[in-house]
């Protein structure tokens, strides 16, 4: 099990829309969630290889003037995805 490397639920569709915003669409429930560009950035790195710290580092390298509380926001966002079944952790069999 990759304990700190979350993985996007492969059933969930990322539909990119205008201005780098996107919709996460769960086809099993029909629920859709709006993502801002930072949410898209994070989602695209939920590949089971990036830890949350890795994602934060990449975010800080890619954006200017990243606020101090960004780490808390990213962790809260990923927690939200995990609670809603939109992301999880991969198990090695």
């Amino acid at each position: 099990m990759t304990a700190d490397r979350p993985l996007a639920n492969p059933l969930v569709v990322l539909r990119e829309e205008f201005d780098d915003w996107a919709i996460l669409f769960d086809p099993d429930t029909g629920h859709a969630f709006g993502l801002n560009p930072v949410g898209v950035f994070v989602w695209q790195r939920l590949d089971g290889r990036h830890s949350i710290d890795d994602i934060l580092t990449e975010l800080q390298d890619s954006c200017q003037e990243v606020p101090g509380e960004a780490g808390d926001h990213v962790r809260a966002f990923i927690d939200h995805l995990l609670k809603n079944g939109l992301a999880g952790y991969e198990y090695q069999i």
Binding site: V13, R15, I23, F25, P27, D28
Partner: protein, 367 residues
């Protein structure tokens, strides 16, 4: 003009065949009435492309989708590619087994079944002997398996006075949460006997009055994107805006009634990609041959249809001196085409001034 990278949804005519010949069918004798159906294998390849483009929803229509024996295989392809779907049907072929299959996919948004009467005499007079009982059985099979049913009532000359009973039957006896209405339009088979099927001006006024009352009796449970209920809702707003003289919205006063080409496309049963099933004469390309995303973003015919909303109604002699011009959006381009031979003209059937000049009236509104 802003455009999404791919359409959010598609209308897909998975077959041109049907077990019925309803008198006002929009399919037969129209440009979407093509002789060959695409084989399931081609649909499955196309759904893979849609999955890659993050298209979210398909509406399966025909013909009659349940007429295809390989419908479950086609639906499994939809599910596999992370899409949801809904189905437009006459309801007569929906067995218990098929309803259970749809429920089991967990991806079916709804099945729309056509029911035009509260009793067999009304419904069957346009759709064929025995079809009322079979359509109702189809609805009940879906309900038993928890599949959402959205009945569509096509208002025509034979069912205007039955509308209160149809409404009671659907909302109370069948306990549907809601249903929608439209009307027999000058499209498909209806064109050959429009005088027997399409509402006259006085029948249209009467149907608007009845639907207006029913809409108030059952608030929020009857919807319409065309037909008498839609007309009365839209025309009432137009007449009030004209009386008050308020500023029109940015799209009013232009041919802006149809926003479909900004969010969806359609595919004919033979795999030809078209802007809308009702504009099936405009052939944009073919599935599995043309790049669907590129076609969506760059096809000149789509650009032309998208720019239709920039054409001011003041350009048309038909609209000249009309007091409602600033609040009108010109009506459905597909009916404009069948009425006038061009999409880029106002639809005369959607014209409030013409309706009033011919003796029509709106309920509860003085104009």
């Amino acid at each position: 003009m802003r455009l999404m990278r791919s359409p959010a949804s598609l209308d897909v005519a998975i077959t041109g065949r049907c077990n019925l010949r309803c008198l006002y069918c929009a399919h037969f004798s129209s440009a979407r009435d093509v002789p060959e159906d695409l084989p399931a294998s081609e649909w499955l390849s196309f759904f893979e492309e849609l999955g890659r483009l993050a298209v979210l929803r398909l509406t399966l229509e025909g013909g009659e989708p349940f007429f295809r024996p390989d419908l479950p295989e086609i639906i499994e392809g939809i599910v596999k590619n992370r899409l949801r779907f809904s189905i437009l049907s006459n309801g007569t072929l929906i067995t218990e087994e098929l309803a259970a299959f749809l429920a089991g996919t967990r991806r079916c948004d709804s099945v729309q079944v056509s029911i035009d009467g509260s009793k067999p005499e009304t419904h069957d007079s346009c759709r064929g002997q025995g079809t009322f009982a079979r359509a109702v059985r189809g609805v009940q099979n879906l309900q038993r398996h928890g599949v959402q049913v959205t009945v569509r009532v096509t208002i025509n000359r034979t069912n205007v006075e039955d509308l209160p009973e149809v409404t009671r039957f659907l909302l109370e006896d069948l306990e549907l949460p809601a249903f929608s209405t439209n009307s027999a339009d000058f499209i498909g088979l209806c064109r050959s006997q429009a005088d027997k099927l399409q509402l006259s001006v006085s029948e249209r006024s009467r149907a608007m009055e009845i639907m207006w009352e029913l809409e108030h009796k059952y608030p929020g449970r009857i919807t319409a994107l065309a037909g008498p209920l839609f007309d009365v809702q839209e025309w009432t707003k137009m007449a009030q805006a004209q009386r008050q003289g308020g500023p029109p919205s940015h799209s009013q006063g232009h041919l802006a009634a149809c926003g479909g080409v900004f969010s969806k496309l359609a595919v004919r049963a033979d795999g030809v990609i078209v802007p809308c099933v009702h504009l099936s004469h405009i052939e944009l390309g073919r599935v599995n041959r043309d790049d669907f995303g590129e076609l969506w973003r760059q096809h000149p015919e789509l650009q032309r249809l998208r720019e239709r909303q920039l054409i001011p109604l003041s350009e048309f002699s038909f609209c000249r001196d009309c007091e409602y011009q600033n609040y009108c959006v010109g009506g459905c381009p597909a009916v404009s085409f069948t009425r006038t031979g061009q999409e880029d003209l106002p639809n005369p059937d959607s014209c409030l001034r013409r309706f009033l000049e011919q003796g029509g009236h709106l309920p509860d509104v003085r104009v």
